[in-house]
Symmetry: C2
Subunit: 308 residues, 2 copies
Amino acid sequence: MNTHQHDGSPQNGGQLPSLGFVGVGRMGANMARRLKDCGFPIAAVFDANAAAAQTLAAELGSVAADDLKTVTALADVIITVVSDDRAMKKIFTGGLLKRAKGKLFINCATVTPAIHVWVEQKCAAKDAQSLEACMASSITQARQGTLYLMCGGKPETFERARPVLEKLGENPRYIGAAGQAAQVKALVNMVMNANTAALAEGLGLGAALGLDLAMLREVFSQTGARSGVLATDGEDMQNRDHACFFSAAHAAKDSGIALKLAKQQGLNLPLATATKKQYDRMVKTGLGELDKSGIAELTFKDRQGNPA
Amino acid sequence: MNTHQHDGSPQNGGQLPSLGFVGVGRMGANMARRLKDCGFPIAAVFDANAAAAQTLAAELGSVAADDLKTVTALADVIITVVSDDRAMKKIFTGGLLKRAKGKLFINCATVTPAIHVWVEQKCAAKDAQSLEACMASSITQARQGTLYLMCGGKPETFERARPVLEKLGENPRYIGAAGQAAQVKALVNMVMNANTAALAEGLGLGAALGLDLAMLREVFSQTGARSGVLATDGEDMQNRDHACFFSAAHAAKDSGIALKLAKQQGLNLPLATATKKQYDRMVKTGLGELDKSGIAELTFKDRQGNPA
C-alpha cells in the first residue's frame, strides 16, 4: 500500500510522484513535456492513437502502455486529458481503475459536470482519489506551465494534487465539489464563445463598411467593446489566421454543455443559443477544425462561410 | 465676420471661444459643467425641456435661450447632445443654422451615420463647420473630462475643435469623414451590448446552479470570458444595481443602428440580432430605463423579466 506525503510523493518528501498520462493529444502531450521538465518521472503514457503514445514515450523516455491498467500500475498520479464524456466513461470502465487503491486521478478534460461526480464515486469505491482540474487556457500555456486550472473535488484531494497542479499553472483555483469546476468552465467558455462570435460580427461589419480594421480594433480596446477575445482573436480574424488553439468544434461542444445546464434550470439563453448555432454551422460546413477565431469566416463578406 | 485662430478663439489666442449647448440632459449638462470648470464661457444653453435649461443656466451663470437661433448668436462653438436622428434634424432645420457663418458645431449625439453627412452639408451651405464627436463613455467621464471621443469630419475642423475636445477627453481620436465615427460608435456599442447580454447569461446560469457569483466573476476576469463589461457591469448584475448610466433603451437603439448598417451590406449578424431582441424585450416590459446591466433581470431566475 502506498502512503502518501503531503507533496504527493508515495515514498518520501524528496521524491516526486511518478506520473501517467491518458490522452496525449496537443494538450496532454504538452502537459507531459512541461512536467517532465519540472522533474517528474513520466512513468507511462497511453492514447487510443497508439502511434501518438509511442512517439511521445520515445521523446520523454517513458513507456507507451499497451492498456490502461498498465498506466495505473506504473504511476502514482494519473492525469487524464481525453476528448469527451464518452471517452471519460470508456477509460474509467476500461481498466484504469484496476488495482487503483491509493492512486490519484487528475482529470483535465472538459466534460459534463455529472461525469466528474460519477468518476469521483467510481474512484472512491476503489479507495482511489480523483480531482477535476478544468483548464481555461490552451496549448502554449500547457507547455509553459501557465494554465489557469479550476479544480473540483474534496479539499484534501486538491492538497494532494497541488505539487503537480502548481507546475501546470501558478495559482490553481479550488472551486468546490466535484462537477462544480466543470460548471464554471462551461460558463467561462459559453461567455468566451459568445464574445468571440460578437467580435467577429463587429469586425465583419466594419470590413464591409470599408473601415480600417486595425483602427477599429484599437478603438474597441479603448472602449466598452474590449474583451479577452479581442486581444487573443481580433487580429487573427482580420488576417484569417485560424491555426487551431481551441477549435470551433470544441466551442460548439462547450456552449452545448452550458445550454444543457441552462435547460435543466429552465433558463432560456438567446446569446448562447445563437453562438452555438454559429459554431454548429462551422462544423456542418467543414470549418469545425479551424480555431474559434474562424467564426469570422461566417461574418465577413465573401469568406468561406458567407460566399458572395 | 469672425476670424478664427487655430485654438478656436474668435478674437485672439488668449481668449477661449464661448460655448453654446443644445440638449442638456445628463450627458450635455455634465459636459457643460466640465468645460465651465476649464474656463470656457458657457454663453447659452437650450433644451426642449425649458426647466432643465433654466436650472443649468442658473448654475453656470449662463443664458437659458428661448430658441435655437439665440444659442448660435451668442456662442462661437455650439455643442449638440440630443437624443436621436429626429431631434438632430429638428434642431438643424429649426433655427440653429440662422446666421451661422463661421460657427463650429460639434455633434455628440449617437445618431445614424447618414445624419452626420447631412448635417455637414447643411452647415457647409451656411459657411459653418461641423464635426461629429461620438462618445464611448458615460456621465461620470463627461463630468471628469475623460470621455473617449471618436471624431468624423474634415481634418481642419477636427483641428479647430481640438482645444474643446481635449478638455472633454484626453486623446480625441480622428476616425475619418463625417459619418465614419458614428459607424465605429455603432460597432463599439453593438459589440459591447452583445458582450453585456452574454455576461448576463453566464452570471444568471451561474446563480441558477448555486455558484458563488463573486468567485465566478473573478474566474471570468482571469480567463477568456473577461471583458470591459465584466468590469463595469458584472457586480451590478449580481447586486441588481441598475442605476442608469447607459439605458437599455439606448442599447436597443444603438444595436439597431448597427443592424441597419449590416442589412444594407447584406450581412446577417445573429448575435447582434439576439442582443437587440433582449433589449427590445426590456423596453416592451417597462425595463427600458434601467441601465444596460438590467439585462440580467431577463437571465436570472425569478427576476422581473423572468418570473417564476
